[in-house]
């Protein structure tokens, strides 16, 4: 059986940052991802990042995997496995089961950092199984990874940063975005993103939702309607919008199956997108061999995912006795960066959620 000090599951922004911190400490590190290349969601993120320079602000998401992989590939103690599913974790023995399509592999890890990210939430409406109804992640993958136009006229549903950014990227790909609807009374994502969409002429309709997809074989139109404060459709407000794609960007939910399997204490925290593991300030779960990083611990931005990944990496390596250069100072800086990113009105909900998901007193 393969053995490693630390296994990192998921090579998105959180997993890459975690593996880098583990690798620097000298711990043998195994980084696993089910995709054929590292980066996770970063490989579709053609826009420039927010945050500060320490979180690659101003760099485009797609440029970040190369920067980190350049460092990781020079570390002899770091092993990389792409195209490999982490299918199970057995907490009693610390054994991970992996399969790469051809082989079933067992790996024993002293610590596991779970950076599995999040999955898109669906939306219930009439005919939502009609071809042409996509999740925003799929639209982004088609466009930005495979260079395939998802359609010609898109109705975007959801005004969080994903809905706003994917709409912008659609316009960049010369696809018309006929409107963006948002059921809440206000825009959920950053107003600067909304403003650039508006400048491109896209109507943003808050207090509106999609009630029905129309079409026989594929989507040919959507029926949108105004909703009141209790989310009920206002009678008579329904109208038809011609489109061939209805793109859903209505939120994400953390992918936490391995943490359930690891017997971690879990909590349902709506502000973080669903069930998340209870953790301490160093991202350790109730099972002392398990750490969580990134969206798997609560849905946020890629910049916060990279920070929580680094915190988890440093902490996991340290817990095994590995020397991490200036660990205390780095951890203090990272935690301050996280607090700063979550400050202000856009971070209020996240802060409340994190507080709810953090073990009382911040330490196990």
């Amino acid at each position: 059986m393969r053995e490693t000090d630390i296994a990192v599951i998921g090579a998105g922004p959180a997993g890459l940052a975690a593996a880098l911190a583990c690798g620097e400490s000298g711990a043998t590190t195994l980084l696993v991802d089910f995709m054929d290349a590292p980066g996770g969601q970063l490989i579709k993120q053609t826009h420039k990042f927010f945050g500060s320079e320490r979180q690659f602000a101003g760099t485009r998401g797609i440029q970040i995997p190369d920067i980190i992989m350049d460092q990781l590939s020079k570390m002899p103690n770091v092993a990389l496995m792409w195209g490999t599913n982490a299918s199970g974790y057995y907490a009693d023995s610390g054994v991970l089961t992996l399969e790469d399509g051809a082989r079933f592999i067992k790996a024993k890890a002293k610590r596991v950092i779970i950076a599995t990210g999040a999955a898109e939430k669906p939306l219930a409406f009439e005919n939502n199984d009609l071809p042409g109804v996509y999740g925003a992640g799929a639209v982004q993958t088609l466009m930005n990874v495979h260079g395939v136009k998802p359609g010609d006229r898109v109705l975007m549903v959801g005004s969080g940063n994903i809905g706003l950014i994917v709409s912008y990227q659609l316009i960049q790909a010369h696809v018309e975005v006929v409107a963006l609807v948002e059921a809440a009374g206000r825009i959920g994502g950053y107003l600067v993103h909304a403003a650039k969409l508006r400048r491109a002429g896209v109507p943003i309709l808050t207090s509106h939702t999609v009630v029905r997809a129309l079409g026989e074989e594929t989507v040919r139109a959507a029926v949108v309607a105004e909703v009141d404060q209790s989310w009920q459709v206002k009678p008579g407000s329904e109208r038809e919008v011609a489109c061939d794609v209805i793109c859903l960007a209505v939120g994400l939910t953390p992918l936490v199956d391995m943490m359930w399997q690891a017997g971690c204490e879990m909590k349902y925290v709506p502000a973080l997108g669903g069930h998340v593991p209870v953790r301490d300030e160093n991202m350790r779960a109730s099972n002392p061999a398990v750490y969580v990083a990134g969206d798997a611990g609560g849905v946020e931005e890629a910049s916060s995912a990279m920070i929580s990944g680094e915190i988890a990496g440093i902490s996991a390596a340290r817990s095994l006795g590995f020397e991490v250069k200036e660990a205390d100072a780095r951890l203090a800086q990272l935690k301050a960066d996280l607090a700063a990113i979550r400050s202000g009105p856009t971070g209020e909900k996240i802060c409340a959620g994190i507080k709810c998901a953090t073990v009382c007193g911040g330490e196990w």
Partner: protein, 166 residues
Amino acid sequence: MLRDIEKNGIVKWEDVQASRGCPGEGRAKKGPVAVIECLQEIPCNPCETGCRFGAITVGDPITNLPVLDEEKCTGCGTCVAVCPGLAIFIEDESKDGPEAMVSVPYEYMPVPERGAEVRATDRSGQVICDAKVVNVRKPKGFNKTAVVTLAVPREYVHVARGIAIQ
């Protein structure tokens, strides 16, 4: 009270003017100057770190709104390209004649060429006037965001904020 921008995404010039990211009336008559249209406290500061003249301050915490020092600003346009929110523009009313210059960030293809006749749009995407592209900058440091300078009739200097996509 919900501000309109939170409902429809349209930035209002009055709100920009009331913010500390906006130069004072008349500053653009002396030469090009940045107009920062970033009105929500988000965790972001490339405008501050990208300006080598120290003309923009975000400070600590990083969610502070950017503050412009119009005396230090040279109108160089670097912040226009590095702002991930594409929320900064350059206004220049210093040239004689009926036109003013507005520089906008541009990330669509094809990027218009210098000398091209285009149509300028306002903050809601409505076409407002014809405009001439007088400069296009896209050095490597701008990381694929072009900064396009438009000559527009003077009365549109605070209104022209985009180019109708060709």
